[in-house]
């Protein structure tokens, strides 16, 4: 096949792609050798610790560090005064890392210390005297929107008055009023979700070292070492090229490690102490002071004709994203009705600030809450007209050519295929036991491309090293090795992939938005193809024929055209062995700003059982059906489906940020922030649908995020059916569920 021709993904037969090889980082991870954020050590290393605000909202009148500085073993202390103020879009990031004039949430960093031992650092924190003027605080999103709410930022105004509403947004098309007038059934409800945390098991950690020459080294667990480099360099006034950031193995992120918290502080401490500084967050700090997702209040109204056609849909979404603007309400508002082909649709969103930690991305940021609200209403409408809920969705499902509710016209998408596969799945028709209910829901995520750079180096022994710039958060190195092997026509185990540091590779966007298999995959394909071109050129030199007369087939260079059959094909290994004599090392390289990512849709089926006497609730069966486009490594695709579903189960049933009246977080630990444990769950069945993305040579779509979008709605639909009462607030924890059951029974009795 000519090198420039893009194969038709639907017809292509793959050798390596689609198989389930062992991951290159696997042995290290099962033997304890893998190096995560907190696993690095440096000579002369100090321990860094952060002093955090005990108040939800307080003016910082003064900070006296003199006693702490005098403590033996304390080598550096930094406060906001050590970071130059700025007025660009990194200011919020800076102020979030170190409070300036006000502490904006319980846990907000106000000072940091580097000391010879953890014990000294801990003692030093106690000696730092902060004079706070405690201010009134606000936690709830709707409370924060009221006229008399305590104001977080003087420079945010609405209608000329200070406000906590940082911005609004609106999406849609058509005329909802007209559509509602045509509707025969209308359901309108308001839903609420509490803030949840990504809950990655590895706390944030980094090791920073800045020398007297101003050159810096930073080791950290992050979803984007290039992002960390650019951000930290700017916050510290360093040249990008003088700060090398190495991404450690990362112990989970889910969006929560797409920004910086400790990293600039560690660098500042190291620069000041002139020694390496290691910082790790405790689990309590992770909950109080990293980036949970937004809490929300969402009103949804959908109108239906008797035949099941949706005539109009609208939603009003209020998201608080913590102490700074930037909640994911825009994406929630864009994603809310993305599964449907609608003539009249409108969504309106409010981005609200409150005295909570600044939100960070969490898996499909903004979309799960919106889907919870919308898909609950869709289920209720299906009940109202007596239609099967999958049939109702099929009748209105978005497909190729549908003008999406957020604007673009869809290319080929796979929602209908997931709905059909769900309907045909034995789960959907299996009998239910007493106190059990079944729910379904759909979900969508945009999926991103973005800046990506990959290097592929052919070793003289014929093995291939792949340098990637996107930290591997769930097995992507394995997928990239498969792709490189596929393109080169060599065995999977001849390829080894690493995540390169920022000095070794061009810029890469963060591992986010389900973009890695798509974007790094694209760049890997192109890098491999560039290497193949060079391999063919080298073979031509070895054979002394024109380069154009060489083709690449099954991992070998072969003479073609008039030279066909003149020479024995040369393997990659044979060409590589002679590379020094034919022009030096052989490498392929590619950099792109990838576009063409294809949305991934999913349909989930859930069975839940409720104990009506206690409100206890269990998911008894779960099936994920999702369009992957093309599954490169099906095991890790299934893993994304299962992991997303279970995070959704946590969000639906028990996870929530609980604040006290004083605005402090009450459950900053895994004891009372209740993520699902193994015994809470059934097996999570998966069905991989493959509707190829036309924007990728193999048809790849991202898969990581869509899987958390349907669960809360699907579970709420199942629980509502089991309990006989519509649940509109998350989490559906036992006290909430029991109260809802009791209230509905009381009402029924009256």
């Amino acid at each position: 096949m000519p090198l420039d021709e893009k194969p038709d993904a639907t017809k292509r037969a793959f050798d390596v792609v689609g198989t389930r090889p062992l991951r290159p980082d696997g042995i290290d991870k099962v033997t304890g050798r893998a190096m995560f954020g907190a696993d690095a050590f440096a000579s002369g290393m100090l321990t860094g610790r952060v002093l955090r605000s005990p108040h939800a909202h307080a003016r910082i009148r003064s900070i006296d560090t003199s006693k702490a500085e005098a403590l033996a073993g304390v080598k550096a202390i930094v406060t906001a005064a050590d970071f130059e103020d700025r007025d660009d879009d990194l200011r919020d990031v800076l102020v979030n890392c170190m409070a300036r004039d006000k502490a904006l949430y319980d846990g907000h960093a106000v000072a940091a210390v580097a000391a010879t031992t953890p014990a000294v650092a801990k003692q030093a924190l106690k000696l730092i005297e902060v004079d706070y003027e405690v201010l009134p605080h606000v936690i709830d999103v709707e409370d924060a929107m009221t006229d008399d709410a305590p104001i977080l930022h003087d420079n945010i105004a609405r209608d000329g008055k200070p406000s906590n509403i940082a911005s609004t947004c609106e999406f849609g098309h058509g005329d909802p009023d007209k559509g509602f007038a045509e509707a025969e059934v209308v359901v309108e409800r308001t839903f609420r979700t509490e803030a949840t945390h990504q809950g990655y098991i590895e706390p944030h950690a980094c090791l920073a070292s800045v020398g007297p020459d101003g050159h810096g080294e930073l080791w950290c667990c992050t979803q984007g070492n290039f992002m960390v480099r650019n951000t930290c360099a700017q916050l510290l006034g360093m040249d990008f090229s003088k700060l090398r950031v190495t991404a450690s193995e990362i112990g989970g992120g889910f969006g929560g490690k797409t920004t910086v918290f400790l990293e600039p502080v560690a660098l500042a401490l190291s620069r000041k102490a002139n020694r390496p500084v290691k910082m790790t967050m405790s689990r309590e700090e992770v909950f109080r002071a990293s980036g949970p997702t937004a809490s929300s209040a969402i009103r949804v109204k959908v109108g239906l004709a008797r035949d099941g056609r949706i005539t109009a849909a609208e939603a009003e979404l209020k998201y608080q994203g913590g102490a700074f603007p930037g909640s994911p309400v825009e994406m929630g508002a864009m994603a809310a009705f993305s599964c449907y082909d609608l003539e009249n649709v409108k969504t309106f969103g409010y981005d609200v600030v409150a005295n909570r930690p600044k939100q960070a991305a969490y898996r499909a940021p903004g979309a799960p809450m919106a889907a919870f609200a919308v898909e609950s209403v869709i289920e209720e409408l299906a009940e109202a007209i007596g239609m099967d809920p999958i049939d109702l969705r099929l009748k209105n499902a978005a497909k190729e050519g549908t003008k999406s509710s957020y604007g673009p016209t869809y290319k080929r998408i796979g929602l209908v295929e997931t709905l059909e596969a769900a309907k045909a799945h034995p789960h959907y028709s299996a009998p239910l036991g007493p106190n059990q209910g079944r729910g379904v829901a759909c979900g969508f995520w945009f999926n991103f491309g973005g800046e990506t750079c990959v290097s592929l180096n052919v070793g003289k022994d014929g093995t291939v090293g792949l340098s990637l710039g996107t930290p591997d958060i769930g097995g992507s190195r394995a997928s990239m090795c498969q792709i490189a092997a596929e393109e080169l026509g060599i065995d999977y185990d001849q390829v080894y992939a690493i995540v390169a540091d920022t000095a070794a590779l061009g810029f890469n966007d963060v591992t986010e938005g389900s973009r890695v298999t798509f974007s790094s995959g694209l760049a890997t394909i192109e890098a491999a193809r560039e290497a193949i071109k060079k391999l063919c050129q080298r073979a031509a030199i070895m054979w002394d024929i024109p380069a154009e007369a060489v083709i690449w087939e099954d991992g070998h260079a072969r003479p073609s055209g008039s030279n066909a059959g003149d020479f024995e094909p040369l393997s990659l290994k044979e060409i590589a062995a002679h590379s020094a004599e034919t022009g030096g090392p052989i490498a392929g390289h590619h950099e792109i700003n990838a576009a063409g990512a294809g949305p991934s849709f999913a349909t989930h089926i859930v069975d839940a059982e409720v104990d009506p006497e206690t409100g206890a609730c269990w998911v008894t069966r779960y099936t994920v059906v999702q369009d992957a486009g093309k599954a490169i490594h099906p095991s890790y695709v299934e893993g994304q489906f299962q992991g997303g579903a279970v995070q959704g189960i946590g969000w639906a049933l028990n996870e929530e940020y609980i604040y006290g009246d004083d605005g402090t977080l009450q459950n900053a630990g895994f004891l009372d922030y209740r993520i699902p444990v193994a015994s809470d769950l059934p097996m999570i069945d998966t069905v991989i649908v493959e509707v190829p993305n036309p924007g990728h040579p193999y048809g790849v779509r991202g898969v990581g995020e869509t899987s958390i979008v349907p669960p809360m709605a699907a579970i709420a639909n199942a629980v509502s059916a089991a309990a006989g009462v519509r649940m509109t607030s998350l989490p559906m924890s036992p006290p909430r569920l029991l109260q809802a059951i009791d209230n509905s029974r009381k009402q029924a009795a009256e």
Binding site: E613, T614, L653, F670, L671, D672, R674
Partner: protein, 287 residues
Amino acid sequence: MRYEAPETIETAVTLLAGEKGLAHVLAGGTDLIVQMRTGRIEPDLVVDLKRISGMREIAEENGGYRIGAAVSGAEMGEHAGLKALWPGVVEAAELIGSTQIQGRATMVGNLCNASPAADAVPALVAAGATVRVAGPEGERDVAAHEIPTGPGETSLKKGELVASVYLPARPARAADAYLRFIPRTEMDIAVVGAGVYLALDEDGVCSDARVALGAVAPTILRVEEAAQALIGSKLDDEALDRLAAAASAAAQPIDDKRGTRDFRIKVAGVLARRAAAKALERARANS
């Protein structure tokens, strides 16, 4: 902080009594070390009991069992005799935390940590357990429920430690059970706990009962009215309804991050009833 691992109770008591600062006993450490690490307590002395002979033993005594202060939940669960005699106590001890926590956490630690939500304590109280306290004045035996006096507060005096728990012999046709409510299946602190002991006469009439509730008051509640609802009955639905009502009526819980007041009141009744049913089943099997 100093760490000491004495080999006799006398040395342990001397160390604890002699410490001028804050002294804590280390058995399983699953509460103590958490509190140390989160900065809630900063002891000057920690006295590890695990090297004292007998502290890690379960010994038969007068038809019952004496359980050393450093016996872990896992060790209790592996003791067939104890499990057969007081299954409710063992299941309560085994509910404390994960497998990993079970490898360390002790019933005496659970008792002396004095959490209102302690799992082992309602079961101990229902079983009529006593504990042996060692101190500068020698040893004394007291009822288990007399140890915790409020959240994090105990009746132990300076220099005193609980050396063992004694679970008495159990009459025929009697049994105990413990149930708790948690939002997940594991890893949570009880939102409500209910321990029930009951004994039947030859006709299957309840002749004795004790009911204890956890997490619904500042200390574990012994609910005499709930026990009276059972005594004299055949544990029919009506009796169990009265038991549930009495349990709910006795509960004086608070709203907190783990549950609401209303929830706890209602579920206290539900659990008391379910625990009684379980104990009844066991008691019938014990005849």
